[in-house]
């Protein structure tokens, strides 16, 4: 049977004043199927006679091993070393390994990484393909019109963000951060004062009808003095927290707006491959009322990543972003890259487009929100990694201040507003909202902002309707006929899902086809 046991661990830190971290494992009662009150509950599982969960305590608990979460973890341990002290830091990651659920273009601006790990090159970070060319095309059905590139990617690199995150995970572990992949934080834990004291991981081994399988394992409680949520765009716990503590109102923020990015990685012909080449397009296949565009980046090893990003406030309910992406690959200017190549991977992820206007107050009792869960993506630059990482670093510095000097987490909000994240987001605040007037007015206003105004004026445009309210009734539009996939350049959904590199996320998706 299970015994009550309490174990004392000495911290792994090399510092002189090592803290003693007490972890207590509470009594775990075995649970029979007969005590399970309702075995037919589909989604919310309320085991009213649920056994007690094991409880583990840390100083800081970070939810999500992405760029923001890992930057926060690394920064915390760096501050500990600089100050001859130690804090126990635990990062929980729902993916089966660090990097498994990371999906991004990605043209990487190393600004935050230079601050966090200035020796990244010597430490062999997987950042080796500098941007070699930057093209911008306006596509019509049959043509590609070259436009001056609005981006300045000098000093940036074309990378695989999941590889970079994997490398960051290894660096974090070297510093003593504990990372546990394969465990999703599924609920927030509160104390009697409604302060967040940690998270609970999901129960495992539950069958489709909600009953327990032979391999059932109860989740555990992972408690922290400070909890940082770095779940990425529209994180489930972050959304709950923002609602509970009214963080949007508190920060004077508008609603968040989103886009869906659909991406494939191809291995192409040697002659067609230009490492570091960056291409963005506007226009076809999207219409003038739909914001979005495509990207095509050449990485190393003859691999390219290409994709389509569609803002989710599109009006036509018949529009299917996945099919638009398949259509896009057939464009006469794009297809040649893919001829003779093979698809390696497929994936999709939402991203934030709300920018400055949608940043909520990111601090709550017991913790803070970092990265895309709050929403620091710079829309005209189409980059969010560097700002996510910087926000993680600032949150870590604020958290360290709490432990070391008795300050409170609100210093994170102050630090954010004094940082280059704020400068960038403020400067680029009007690009996306300008497109609510349509593609041409949007381009015109963006041009004005980019070349002349540069955000140096008091006007801040508001967003249009929230995405879900922007969808028109079906009767106002006609169905779109999408061509059948040819199996060479375009594919049907099941084939693409089969390429989706991690099966675990398939189980989290609601796939109906």
């Amino acid at each position: 049977m299970f015994k009550l046991s309490s174990l004392l661990f000495k911290s792994k830190s090399k510092s002189k004043n090592a803290l003693t971290i007490i972890r207590t494992f509470n009594n775990l009662q075995p649970c029979n199927a007969s005590t399970h009150a309702n075995s037919r509950v589909p989604i919310s599982r309320n085991f009213c006679t649920a056994p007690e969960r094991d409880s583990i305590e840390y100083d800081v608990v970070i939810v999500g091993a992405g760029p923001a979460g890992l930057s926060a973890a690394i920064r915390l341990k760096q501050l500990c070393r600089e100050n001859d002290t130690d804090l126990s830091v635990c990062v929980l990651e729902k993916g089966s390994e660090v990097g498994a659920h990371i999906l991004s273009g990605n043209v990487f601006e190393p600004r935050a990484l230079d601050e966090l790990l200035p020796q990244w090159k010597q430490q062999e970070a997987p950042i080796s393909t500098p941007v070699s060319s930057d093209k911008f095309w306006f596509l019509t059905k049959n043509r590609a019109i070259s436009l001056p590139s609005p981006f300045d990617n000098k000093g940036n690199y074309v990378i695989s963000l999941s590889q970079l995150v994997r490398w960051m995970g290894a660096k974090a572990e070297e510093l003593g951060v504990e990372i546990y992949p394969g465990f999703a934080a599924s609920e927030i834990l509160y104390d009697s004062d409604n302060k967040v004291i940690g998270i609970g991981t999901n129960d495992m081994g539950i069958s489709k009808d909600g009953s327990k399988k032979e391999t059932f394992q109860r989740g555990v409680e992972v408690k922290g003095q400070i909890t940082l949520l770095s779940e990425g765009c529209r994180g489930s716990l972050s959304e709950q927290i923002m609602k509970k503590y009214n963080l949007r109102e508190k920060g004077g923020a508008e609603h968040q707006t989103y886009a869906l990015g659909i991406k494939e990685v191809w291995e192409i012909d040697e002659e067609k491959h230009q490492p570091g080449a960056v291409l963005h397009t506007l226009g076809w296949p999207l219409d003038h009322k739909t914001y979005g565009g495509s990207f095509l980046y050449h990485m190393k090893d003859r691999q390219i990543s290409l994709g389509l990003v569609v803002a989710l406030n599109y009006q036509n309910p018949f529009m299917n972003p996945y099919e638009e992406f398949q259509k896009f690959k057939h464009h006469p200017a794009i297809k040649p890259f893919l001829e003779g190549g093979t698809v390696i991977q497929y994936g999709a992820r939402t991203l934030n487009e709300g920018g400055f206007q949608s940043v909520p107050y990111p601090v709550f009792p017991g913790g803070a929100i970092v990265g895309c869960s709050a929403g620091f993506l710079n829309v005209p630059k189409i980059k969010g990694t560097h700002t996510a990482m910087k926000s993680g670093m600032l949150a870590a510095e604020a958290a360290f201040g709490v432990f070391n000097e008795g300050l409170d987490m609100n210093t994170y909000w102050d630090a954010l507003r004094n940082s280059w994240i704020w400068e960038e987001l403020y400067k680029s605040r009007n690009y996306r909202p300008a497109f609510k007037y349509g593609l041409i007015p949007g381009l015109a206003l963006s041009g004005l902002e980019h070349y002349i105004l540069k955000g140096r004026h008091p006007i801040t445009l508001k967003h249009g309707k929230p995405d879900h309210e922007a969808t028109n009734a079906a009767e106002l539009h006609s169905p779109i006929h999408y061509p059948k996939p040819d199996g060479v350049f375009s594919f049907d959904v099941p084939t693409s899902l089969h390429r989706f590199c991690n099966i675990n996320s398939l189980l989290l998706l609601n796939v109906e086809n």
Binding site: S96, R166, F183, T201, K213, C501, N502
Partner: protein, 251 residues
């Protein structure tokens, strides 16, 4: 009684395999690796035997590069008591694994050696049988049920064979290789993963064990299977026979 279980680090079963352009093997860089599913089943069976009181200790063994320690830690998190890592950077062919296992068995003296029936990367299905031969121990392969009798020191093993199920009675010590239907491996819980960090892993090299692992096999080429050709509709039985005779050459 001690139980020794082998665990192999292989490409995760869910990964879509690609052949390297130079055809010397498959792409393993940046690819997810995990414990061989049959080894998980083997470890689960060992843990169940220990939990029923018929064994005192479960030792997990893995052979290969330094990353095998991760696989061992997963095994320790599932519940194994100790780990042994035999560090070797060359390909681990079944005969070498069997020879090394023989040496480890001589050191550890387990009463039962449980392996997965095969690894999902090479599908050899040879190691268990070879090590039983080298040790001159009885073997129960493709086990779908294992029942131990401590008094009589025998293991009754149900084997999945082509004709159905064969039941063997093996005198201990014995070698058992596990098949899919034997059990459902448990999840490693977060507290167990944390506890596993402090469990001991002993390191060996093949040289220390006096085993020569110079390869006697050479992989000549690895290619993708031919793409599946679409079927052909025939309009009559005569046409079918015609095609079977002259195109498919099967009658």
């Amino acid at each position: 009684m001690k139980i020794m279980v082998t665990v192999k680090r292989v490409i995760d079963y869910a990964v879509k395999i690609r052949v390297k352009p130079d055809k010397t093997g498959v792409v393993t860089q940046n690819v997810k690796m995990s414990m061989n599913p049959f080894c998980e089943i083997a470890l689960e069976e060992a843990l169940r035997i220990r939990e029923s009181g018929l064994a005192s200790e479960v030792v997990a063994v893995s052979m290969g590069p330094s990353q095998c320690v991760d696989t061992l830690r997963t095994g320790l998190a599932m519940g194994a008591d100790r780990g042994i890592h035999v560090e070797a950077n060359d390909s681990m062919y079944p005969l070498f694994v069997a020879k090394i296992l023989k040496k480890l068995v001589e050191i550890e003296k387990p009463g039962l050696l449980i392996l997965g029936k095969q690894a999902i990367d090479d599908d050899c299905n040879q190691t268990g049988q070879m090590v039983a031969g080298l040790l001159n121990w009885p073997q129960g392969t493709f086990a779908s049920k294992v029942v131990l009798d401590k008094e009589k020191q025998v293991a009754t093993v149900d084997r999945e064979v082509d004709d159905g199920i064969e039941t063997l009675c093996l005198n201990l010590p014995a070698v058992i290789t596990t098949d899919l239907r034997l059990n459902q491996p448990r999840y490693a819980t977060l507290p167990n993963i944390m506890k596993a960090k402090s469990k001991p892993i002993k390191k060996f090299t093949p040289k220390e064990l006096n085993v020569d692992i110079k390869p006697d096999l050479e992989i000549v080429e690895v290619t993708e299977p031919p793409k599946r050709k679409s079927g052909v509709l025939v309009s009559s039985v005569d046409e079918l026979i015609e095609k079977l005779k002259h195109e498919a050459n099967v009658i």
